[in-house]
C-alpha cells in the first residue's frame, strides 16, 4: 500500500481532514470517501467535462486533479447548489424550465461550469456560454437548451439580486405547470 498523504479540504462548506493515497483523484475522493455521487465520471481523460467541480471558485476537471494537490483548497460540487429543503438553485431551475437536460449524466458538470461563469459574468450572452462550456460534452440535448438554460439562469439570478429576494421554493404545483 503506498504511503498516504494528509489532505485538509473544505467541500461544500464542510471541513475534512483526510488521509488518502497520493494517486487518489479528486473525483474518486468526492465520490468514494465523501459519498458525494453527484460528480460523474464520463471519460476519466479530461475530455468530457462531466466531472467538473469548482476548486477555489475555478471550474476544474476532478478526474485530472489528485486530491493530494488540494490540501487547503475549497471545493464545491453539484450537491452544494440546492437547499436541503428541496429548493433548487436558480441555475437548476433554469435547466428544468428550459429543458436543458435529458439523461442528466453530464448535467452536474454543466451546472458547475455554469456556476463559475455566472459568478464572473452575471448575464452571459450565447458566446460567453459557448466559451465557458464548449469543452463539456452532452450527447442528449444538442446543447441548444443548455445555452438557453445558462442565459436564463443569469436572468433569474439578476432578478433575484435586484428584488433582494432569495430563490423561490419551487412547489410541486409549479413543477407540473404548463409552459407556453
Amino acid at each position: 500500500m503506498p504511503d498516504e498523504v494528509r489532505v485538509r479540504i473544505t467541500v461544500n462548506g464542510t471541513r475534512h481532514d483526510l488521509r488518502t493515497e497520493p494517486r487518489t483523484l479528486l473525483a474518486d475522493l468526492l465520490r468514494n470517501d465523501l459519498a458525494l455521487p453527484g460528480t460523474h465520471l464520463g471519460c476519466e481523460q479530461g475530455v468530457c467535462g462531466a466531472c467538473t467541480v469548482l476548486v477555489d471558485d475555478v471550474a476544474t476537471r476532478s478526474c485530472l486533479v489528485f486530491a493530494a494537490q488540494l490540501d487547503g483548497a475549497s471545493v464545491r460540487t453539484v450537491e452544494s447548489l440546492a437547499g436541503a429543503d428541496g429548493t433548487l438553485h436558480p441555475i437548476q431551475r433554469a435547466f428544468t424550465e428550459e429543458h436543458g437536460l435529458q439523461c442528466g449524466f453530464c448535467t452536474p458538470g454543466m451546472l458547475m461550469g455554469a456556476c463559475e461563469l455566472l459568478e464572473r459574468v452575471p448575464e452571459p450572452r450565447r458566446e460567453d456560454v459557448e466559451e465557458a462550456l464548449g469543452g463539456n460534452l452532452c450527447r442528449c440535448t444538442g446543447y441548444q437548451n443548455i445555452v438557453r438554460s445558462v442565459c436564463a439562469a443569469g436572468r433569474l439570478m439578476a432578478g433575484q439580486a435586484s428584488d433582494g429576494q432569495t430563490s423561490d421554493g419551487q412547489t410541486s404545483d409549479e413543477q407540473s405547470g404548463v409552459r407556453a
Binding site: H40, V47, H99, Y143
Partner: protein, 807 residues
C-alpha cells in the same frame, strides 16, 4: 423555437402540453442513482484486461503476480470464467459463439482476456497490469471486401466463410422496372461505423448468494424486464432466482439494450468470490468493446425512374462490416427494410445484403439502427436523379410522395405506413427556411469565392419497433414474430394516491413525465400528484423499454389501459356507495360524481378508502383493492410470409420530417460550418412539445456528428483501434451547433393511443443525408458529389481534389 399546429377542436388537458419533467429534480441534484452510485457493504471493484491485438491466439496467461497483489480477491481468465457463466445470448441462427472473456483466441482489439475483482478500482487496475499474456498474432481482417475472399483467414472456424449472412430479396418486379426505366441513377456510397457513446458507460453490480443460489444484479441494461431469462441463462441462475434492478441510465442511444458483456463479467466475478462486485466500463472499455457501434456499410445502389421522374424501382446491394460477432443477427437490415423506399411510391425493391465478419468490435444498435444509412443512400439517389434528369429536387420529391389519401400505405416489403402528409411538411419547411433569402446569400457569397450550400432531405422515421426484425430475413427464423410488449401497473391507495410502476428504465427520455401526463389525463388530476416508480424484474412488468422510437407509443398505451381499468373499478365502487348505476357515474377532475349533475360525489380518497378497507361485497367477482396491470402489445404487426415476399407490418407508425440545413464550406481547409438549420417534423400527436423538441434537436446534433466528424478508425494492416478516446473519436460540442428552428405538423396515427408516433431517432435519421445534400449544393461549382460520411475536413479536401482531377 418549437411550435405545434393542432386542430382547434383539441380537448385534451395534459396530453400534448409541455408539462415539466418529473425526472429533473433528482438528475439536477446528483441524486438519480446511476449504476456508479450503487454501493453495497463489502463490495469489490472490477477491472478488465483487454487485448492489444485485433486478432491473436492466446498462448498462455499467467495471473500469479496479479493474484499476489494485496487487495486482489479474484482473477478470472476466459477459461475460469467459462466455469461460472455461459456464452452470451445471440439472436442469429449461425454458429457464432461469444463469451464475455475470450477463450483461446481474441477477435477484435479490446476484447477482454481477463478480469479482476479487488478492494478498489485502483488495485484492480494494478492487477490487470500484472497479468502476463502471451499472444500469437494472427492476420487481422480489417477490410470487409478482402474478408469476403474465400481464401481469407476466417474469424470463426465454425463458419465456412466470413460472409456470415447473405440474402437477396426481391419485392415487386425489379427487373421489369429496371428494363422500362428512362433513367437509372447509380451511387456507390460509404457509411462508416460510429458509436453511440453515451456519457455514462455501461456497468453492473452483481451480488451472488451461494447459499440460495440467487443473484441480484443492478445495471444500466434496458432489457431487464424484456429478456431477464437471457441474463439468467448467461449467469447460470434459475430465472426465478435472478433479480435485476434498474438504475437511472446516463444515456444509451441503443447501446445499452443488453450489455451482456458487462453483466456476464460482473456476475462471474461475484460468483467466483460470493461477494458483491461492481464493474463499470471506463471510457477505453466502452469505446473499444461495448457493442455500441452502428452500421458500417458499402452501398452499390440504383434508382430507376420513368421519363417524367416517377420513381419505379430501387436496387440496394450492401456489404455491411459486422465486426467479429453477430449477436443481433442482421437486425439492422430487418430494420432498414421498414422504410427503404422512404416517403416515395417506389414499386419494387431488390435488397442484396452481405453481412461480413472482420476483426472489429461487433455491431450493436445505435439510434437509427440500420435505417440511418438507409435514409442516407435513398436521399442521395433522389438528389442525384434530380441533377441528372434536370428536374428540381423539390419537384422530384413532390411528384413521388405517397399522397395523404393513400394511407394506410403498404410498401413493397410489406410494412405499412400509417399516415402522413409529406407535401405539407415539405411546403412548411421551405417556408420557414426562407429559401429565396438563402439563394440570394449563396449568390452573393459565390461572387466572393465562398461556398454556401442549402441542403434538403425528406425522410421517414419508422417507429414502434417489433423485435422480429432481428431475424426476419431467415427462411427458418429461430423465433416467431414478437408482440414486443410494454406494461404499466397502477394502484390507487386508500388515501387516493396514484402510483404507476413501469418496467422500462429511465434511459434519458421521460417515462415518468409521460406516465404522469397520461394518468392525469385519465383521472383529471395534476401530473405532479402521480408517483412513478421503476420495477425490478420480480414484479412481472413485461417491458421492451426504450428503443426503435417506441417508448412513448407503448407506455402511453399501457398507462392508459391500466388507468382506465382502475378508474372503471373506482366508478363501480363509487356507484355502489352512492347507490347509483355505474353507467351514470363519471370521473372529472379526480372526483367521482353523477354524469352531468354534480351533486353527490366522492373524492379519490373516499373511493380509495372504501375500496381498500370497506368492501361491501356488492359484486362477488370483485375483491378489495385498486390495482391494475395492463400490458400493451404492439398495436399492429402481422407475421412475415414463409417465402419472405411479404415481411408483414412490423414498424407501421411512421413519422416524417423535412430538414433544410444551411452550410458553408471552406474549400481550402475542408471545414464545414452549419449556418442555420430548419426542421418540420410530423410525429403524430405531440405528447409533450418541449420534450419532443429536445429529442429532435439532440438527434440532429448526433446527425451533425455523423455527417462531419464521428468515425471509428482502424489501422489498415494491424487492425488497431485508432480512435480509442474522445480525443480521437470526436463528438459534436457546442461550437458545432447552429440555432435549430423546429416546427411540427400533426397527422395522428390511427393505430396508437392518442395518435402518437415515435420521435426518438428522427433527428439522427435525417440530418446526415440533409447535411450531405447541403455540402453538395455548396460545392456544386467544383463538381463535388458527396457519397461518403463523415465529411471530415480531410475528406472534403480530397473530394474537391478528386473532382478537379476529373476531366
Amino acid at each position: 423555437m418549437s411550435t405545434v399546429e393542432r386542430p382547434a377542436a383539441e380537448t385534451r388537458r395534459w396530453v400534448g402540453q409541455s408539462v415539466a419533467r418529473k425526472e429533473d429534480p433528482k438528475l439536477l441534484t446528483g441524486r438519480a442513482g446511476f449504476i456508479g452510485d450503487v454501493v453495497l457493504p463489502g463490495m469489490l471493484h472490477g477491472a478488465v484486461l483487454r487485448s492489444p491485438h485485433a486478432h491473436a491466439r492466446i498462448v498462455s496467461i499467467d495471473t500469479s503476480e496479479a493474484e499476489a497483489l494485496p487487495g486482489v480477491v479474484v482473477v478470472l481468465t476466459g477459461a475460469t470464467a467459462a466455469e461460472l457463466v455461459d456464452p452470451m445470448p445471440a439472436f442469429c441462427a449461425e454458429p457464432v459463439e461469444q463469451r464475455a472473456i475470450a477463450v483461446d483466441r481474441v477477435r477484435f482489439p479490446g476484447e477482454a482476456v481477463a478480469a479482476v475483482a479487488a478492494t478498489d478500482r485502483y488495485i484492480a487496475e494494478d492487477a490487470c497490469a500484472r497479468i502476463r499474456v502471451e499472444y500469437e498474432v494472427l492476420p487481422a481482417l480489417v477490410d470487409p471486401v478482402a474478408a469476403m475472399d474465400p481464401s481469407a483467414t476466417r474469424v470463426h472456424e465454425t463458419l465456412d466463410s466470413n460472409v456470415v449472412f447473405h440474402r437477396t430479396l426481391d419485392w415487386g418486379d425489379v427487373d421489369a422496372d429496371l428494363a422500362r426505366a428512362h433513367t437509372i441513377v447509380r451511387s456507390s456510397a460509404r457509411w462508416h461505423r460510429m458509436g453511440a457513446h453515451p456519457i455514462e458507460t455501461a456497468g453492473a453490480v452483481a451480488s451472488w448468494d451461494p447459499f440460495s443460489q440467487s443473484m441480484t444484479m443492478w445495471s444500466n441494461s434496458n432489457f431487464i424486464n424484456f429478456l431477464p431469462w437471457a441474463f439468467a441463462g448467461i449467469l447460470r441462475v434459475s430465472t426465478n432466482r435472478l433479480r435485476m434492478i434498474p438504475c437511472t441510465v446516463g444515456g444509451s442511444f441503443g447501446s445499452k439494450h443488453l450489455i451482456t458483456k458487462v453483466v456476464s463479467i460482473t456476475g462471474a466475478l461475484s460468483k467466483a468470490c460470493g461477494r458483491p462486485v461492481q464493474y463499470l466500463e471506463d471510457r477505453a472499455d466502452n469505446v473499444a468493446a461495448n457493442d455500441n457501434v452502428g452500421c458500417d456499410r458499402i452501398y452499390d445502389a440504383e434508382l430507376a425512374l420513368a421519363e417524367d421522374g416517377e420513381m419505379l424501382g430501387l436496387v440496394l446491394r450492401i456489404i455491411d462490416d459486422y465486426g467479429a460477432y453477430f449477436q443481433f443477427a442482421h437486425g439492422q437490415h430487418g430494420n432498414a427494410v421498414a422504410q427503404p423506399v422512404g416517403p416515395y411510391r417506389i414499386g419494387s425493391l431488390r435488397y442484396d445484403v452481405s453481412c461480413v465478419l472482420t476483426n472489429k468490435v461487433q455491431q450493436g444498435f445505435f439510434r437509427g439502427a440500420g435505417a440511418d444509412p438507409g435514409n442516407f443512400i435513398l436521399e442521395r439517389l433522389v438528389d442525384k436523379a434530380a441533377l441528372e434528369m434536370g428536374i428540381d429536387r423539390v419537384e422530384l420529391r413532390r411528384r413521388n410522395f405517397i399522397r395523404p389519401d393513400q394511407f394506410p400505405y403498404k410498401i413493397p416489403t410489406g410494412n405499412i405506413y400509417d399516415s402522413g402528409d409529406y407535401e405539407a411538411v415539405l411546403d412548411r419547411a421551405l417556408e420557414i427556411a426562407g429559401l429565396d433569402r438563402w439563394r440570394a446569400e449563396q449568390e452573393r457569397l459565390r461572387a466572393e469565392g465562398r461556398y454556401l450550400g442549402i441542403g434538403l432531405a425528406s425522410c421517414q422515421e419508422r417507429s414502434g419497433y417489433n423485435a422480429s426484425e432481428w431475424w426476419s430475413f431467415y427462411d427458418e427464423p429461430p423465433l416467431p414474430a414478437t408482440s414486443t410488449p410494454e406494461s404499466c401497473k397502477i394502484d390507487v391507495d386508500a388515501m387516493g394516491g396514484v402510483r404507476a410502476t413501469i418496467g422500462c428504465p429511465l434511459w434519458g427520455n421521460s417515462p415518468e413525465t409521460v406516465v404522469g401526463q397520461v394518468v392525469a389525463e385519465e383521472f383529471g388530476i395534476d401530473p405532479s400528484a402521480v408517483s412513478v416508480v421503476y420495477a425490478d424484474s420480480t414484479i412481472g412488468a413485461i417491458s421492451a423499454g426504450p428503443g426503435g422510437s417506441r417508448v412513448t407509443i407503448m407506455l402511453s398505451g399501457a398507462t392508459r389501459g391500466a388507468a382506465r381499468t382502475v378508474k372503471d373499478k373506482m366508478i363501480r365502487v363509487a356507484a355502489s356507495a352512492m347507490e347509483m348505476d355505474p353507467e351514470d357515474v363519471e370521473c372529472v377532475d379526480g372526483v367521482f360524481r353523477a354524469k352531468g349533475a354534480p351533486g353527490t360525489s366522492m373524492t379519490m380518497a373516499e373511493v380509495g378508502m372504501k375500496a381498500h378497507l370497506f368492501h361491501d361485497g356488492t359484486d362477488e367477482a370483485e375483491s378489495s383493492g385498486l390495482v391494475a396491470v395492463y400490458t400493451y402489445d404492439h398495436p399492429y404487426f402481422t407475421p412475415p410470409s414463409a417465402d419472405r415476399s411479404d415481411l408483414g407490418a412490423f414498424y407501421p407508425m411512421v413519422s416524417h420530417a423535412c430538414h433544410i440545413p444551411i452550410v458553408e464550406v471552406d474549400p481550402e481547409t475542408g471545414e464545414v460550418t452549419l449556418r442555420a438549420y430548419y426542421v418540420v417534423n410530423d410525429c403524430g400527436t405531440v405528447m409533450n412539445p418541449a420534450l419532443v423538441e429536445g429529442q429532435v434537436v439532440g438527434g440532429i446534433v448526433q446527425g451533425i456528428g455523423a455527417a462531419l466528424m464521428e468515425e471509428y478508425s482502424y489501422g489498415a494492416t494491424d487492425g488497431a483501434l485508432e480512435t480509442p478516446t474522445f480525443r480521437e473519436y470526436l463528438l459534436p460540442s457546442m461550437h458545432e451547433v447552429p440555432e435549430i428552428v423546429l416546427e411540427h405538423l400533426e397527422t395522428p396515427s390511427p393505430f396508437t393511443t392518442y395518435g402518437v408516433k415515435g420521435v426518438g431517432e428522427g433527428g439522427r435519421l435525417v440530418a446526415p443525408t440533409a447535411i450531405a445534400s447541403a455540402v453538395d449544393d455548396a460545392l456544386r461549382p467544383l463538381g463535388v458529389w458527396v457519397d461518403e460520411l463523415p465529411m471530415t475536413p480531410e475528406r472534403v479536401v480530397g473530394m474537391i481534389a478528386d473532382a478537379q482531377r476529373r476531366p
